[in-house]
Amino acid sequence: MADGVQILLRRNRPGSKAKDFCRWPDEPFEEMDSTLAVQQFIQQTIRRDPANLEAILKMPEAQDEGVWKYEHLRQFCMELNGLAVRLQSECKPELCTQMTATEQWIFLCAAHKTPKECPAIDYTRHTLDGAACLLNSNKYFPSRVSIKESSVAKLGSVCRRVYRIFSHAYFHHRAIFDSFEKETHLCKRFTYFVTKYSIISKEILILPKLDDETPITQPVGESEA
């Protein structure tokens, strides 16, 4: 790079070491001029410290809240893939024949024309695939800069289903859940997220509060889920 001295390029070049991946100085949000600025910002904050939920979920000023929530949900679904990978090795269709958390509910997989009693691992995969499909749908989310109010409403059902993956892992594959959580703080962040923006009603959040306490701010509005 001839001009690499003056200009900092945030790039992963071929041959980079894994530890150097995305290891560039943070870019201030105001200077991000890309249409993917929100995703860049969120990932940058997570990379800095995945445990710092306050920082991760502190919305920049003048940011459209719909897009903010949408981008966070994309990030959750993306990172949940890691949990799904771990579950694939342990959560067998013969053992977890149904998607359950507590004994109280069987969750039906909504990815099919008529909701089906998929085994837990299939439910997990189908739900993530369905979420990827919805969140990338040209119809509901054609832009990553502004989002229709009606589409923002779709986020609720995705959150609700995605939360069941956490709860299944928690109640049936606790070891996997714990090691994953220790690494990513994903469930904590998710809980904090849905509570902060009142995306899911509190009754549905069946997981006990996770070990270290994060101050959960009071919901702003009434739950609509």
Partner: protein, 584 residues
């Protein structure tokens, strides 16, 4: 119903939606006690709607396929027509040559002019008598040259210049003549270097042809004469090319000199101008005579009977055909140019975005086409790989738009997937390398797989752990010993794989070049860059044929990979914006 959990113990849950909805249902059922419940009707409507949507999307796919088919067939038809026209032209010329031969033979044997209808040579222009046969042969030689030029792919430019020259000579297009010099000049400049390079080959080719003609020998006068004539024609052309930068007069002179120098000419060959003029005269003459085409000479019948296929049609449309023939040189060349141009045009098709593959949550690092099917696999920083079937849109659920939905999501990497390679044809395997330090082998699910099928662990066949360090993009040419590399410094470099020398280097993009792909025939090169553009290059001329702005930036990265389908007309690009695009 949007939600889908069902109360296990139907007791206490009131806060939950489903509990409520189930209760509602029960209430409705009990209170109305009719066969149709509102949820039932809703469900039915929803179901029907989904079915219609599905059918509609399938129809659309069918339609697109048929349209592509039509376009393909039309192109093929056009090609066949061009071929047909060319062949008909050749037949006409051969027929004409045969007639001339016969006239000559008759004259030599009986010392009398053969009164043969359309063949009748102009009585007031006896010196031109030997010309027709010669002309036909010249024409033949010319055809061979043309064929050769077409083979090497420079036909359009040369023929264009040629036709312009002829036009000038004939003074047919006066208005064009006015602007001719400048036109020719520019042409000359453009093609001079090419021509000099060509002339050498042409020379060889001419020699070869002559040898072939001689060795065929024995066939007698005709073949021998032909070969000589061919050589002459080749040389004439050669000379023309070599002297293109010269003036017309010089050209003529040179042509003449050349003919002399070959020394094999039995007959005195005139210069280009006279030839062309003679040709024109002859043709107009024969056109004039065509009305009096007599049946008094059985010999005249013969060629017609012989060349039945072309002859019959030709006889009917004689005036028309000759009208066409009168312009033979000009229209021929013009047509030749058009044909070449058209075929080149269709060959040099522009690519249009057709599918946007949305499903990745983060940048798409790499993609690879299926070796045979219209399918591809993408690898993303969101830790997954996805398989897409371009010819089958997945049943559109209520949440799906018109986008292509991935057929399968490969989950096993625990870090961004960085690179991807498809196995050998029929192996149905693909390999991926991730930032987690693993290389994984996947069995591709069949193209008929449903994304919501049960999980089959067999998809992930083997797990090999290795340290995967990514190299710069290197692609090898499918037929030549040529390597192409993409560089951070905006260059694409070409390397001679034998000598290891850099054959060519060019600044190809405004920013780092990140992706490279060569088409299966080795004629085109596709490159992607962080400048957000995909460029298509003609490998022969190293010129950019098309530029497509395809992806948006994430941080300072934009396009991360490009690919050509090994068999089908698809190209694809993968971007840091999480999208993959397919162009047809």
């Amino acid at each position: 119903m949007d939600d889908s959990s069902v109360s296990h113990h139907n007791g206490g849950q009131v806060g939950s939606q489903i509990g409520v909805s189930v209760n509602n249902k029960q209430n409705e059922e009990s209170s109305q006690s009719v066969q149709y419940s509102i949820p039932g009707v809703l469900h039915f409507i929803q179901h029907e709607w989904a079915r219609f949507e599905l059918e509609r999307s399938q129809w659309e796919v069918d339609r697109a396929e048929f349209e592509a088919r039509i376009a393909f067939l039309q192109g093929e038809r056009k090609g066949q027509e061009n071929l047909k026209n060319d062949l008909v032209r050749r037949i006409k010329m051969l027929e004409y040559a045969l007639k001339q031969e016969r006239a000559k033979f008759h004259r030599l044997k009986y010392g009398v002019e053969l009164q043969q209808g359309d063949m009748h040579p102009p009585p007031d222009e006896p010196p031109q008598e030997p010309e027709p046969a010669e002309r036909a042969q010249w024409k033949q030689g010319h055809q061979l040259i043309k064929q050769y030029l077409q083979e090497i792919g420079y036909t359009d430019t040369i023929l264009d210049v040629r036709s312009n020259k002829v036009r000038t000579l004939l003074g047919l297009t006066n208005e064009e003549q006015a602007e001719d010099p400048s036109y020719r000049n520019c042409d000359k400049q453009q093609h001079y270097s090419m021509n000099t390079a060509l002339s050498r080959k042409m020379y060889d080719y001419g020699k070869e042809r002559r040898k072939a003609g001689v060795s065929q020998g024995g066939g007698g006068y005709n073949e021998e004469g032909l070969s000589v004539q061919e050589t002459a024609a080749v040389f004439a052309n050669f000379e023309f090319l070599a002297n293109q930068e010269m003036d017309m007069d010089e050209d003529d002179l040179d042509a003449k000199q050349m003919h002399h120098s070959t020394g094999k000419q039995g007959e005195e060959v005139d210069n280009d101008t006279e030839e062309v003029l003679n040709e024109l005269n002859l043709l107009t003459e024969s056109e004039a005579d065509s009305g009096g085409q007599g049946d008094e000479y059985p010999a005249v019948k013969f060629p017609h009977a012989g060349g039945a296929a072309a002859g019959t049609g030709e006889a009917d449309e004689k005036p028309l055909a000759l009208g066409e023939l009168a312009q033979l040189t000009v229209s021929n060349e013009a047509e030749g140019y058009d044909v070449a141009n058209a075929s080149k045009e269709s060959f040099r098709k522009t690519w249009n975005a057709k599918y946007t593959l949305r499903s990745h949550f983060d940048g798409v690092r790499a993609l690879a086409f299926h070796p045979t099917e219209a399918a591809l696999v993408t690898a993303s920083e969101d830790h997954t790989l996805k398989l897409w079937n371009l010819q089958r849109t997945v049943p559109a659920k209520k949440s799906a738009g018109l986008d292509v939905e991935p057929l399968y999501t490969f989950r096993a990497h625990t870090a961004p997937v960085m690179c991807l390679a498809m196995g050998m044809p029929r192996s149905e395997e693909c390999f991926s390398g991730g930032l987690d330090g693993t290389i994984r082998v996947w069995n591709l699910p069949p193209p008929s797989a449903d994304p919501y099928d049960p999980y089959d662990p067999a998809v992930q066949a083997v797990l090999r752990v290795a340290c995967d360090s990514l190299a710069h993009r290197v692609r090898s040419h499918p037929t030549l010993p040529l390597l192409v590399t993409a560089h951070e410094d905006r260059h694409i470099r070409f390397w001679d794989a034998v000598s290891g020398r850099c054959a060519h280097a060019m600044v190809a993009h405004l920013d780092a070049v990140t992706g490279l792909a060569l088409d299966p025939n080795g004629l085109f090169l596709l490159s992607g860059s962080h400048d957000c553009s995909v460029r298509l290059w003609n490998l022969d001329t190293k010129t950019c044929v098309q530029e497509i702005t395809a992806h948006r930036k994430k941080f300072d990265e934009s396009i991360l990979d490009v690919a050509f389908h090994p068999l089908r007309p698809y190209i694809a690009s993968a971007g840091a914006d999480g999208l993959a695009k397919v162009f047809v």
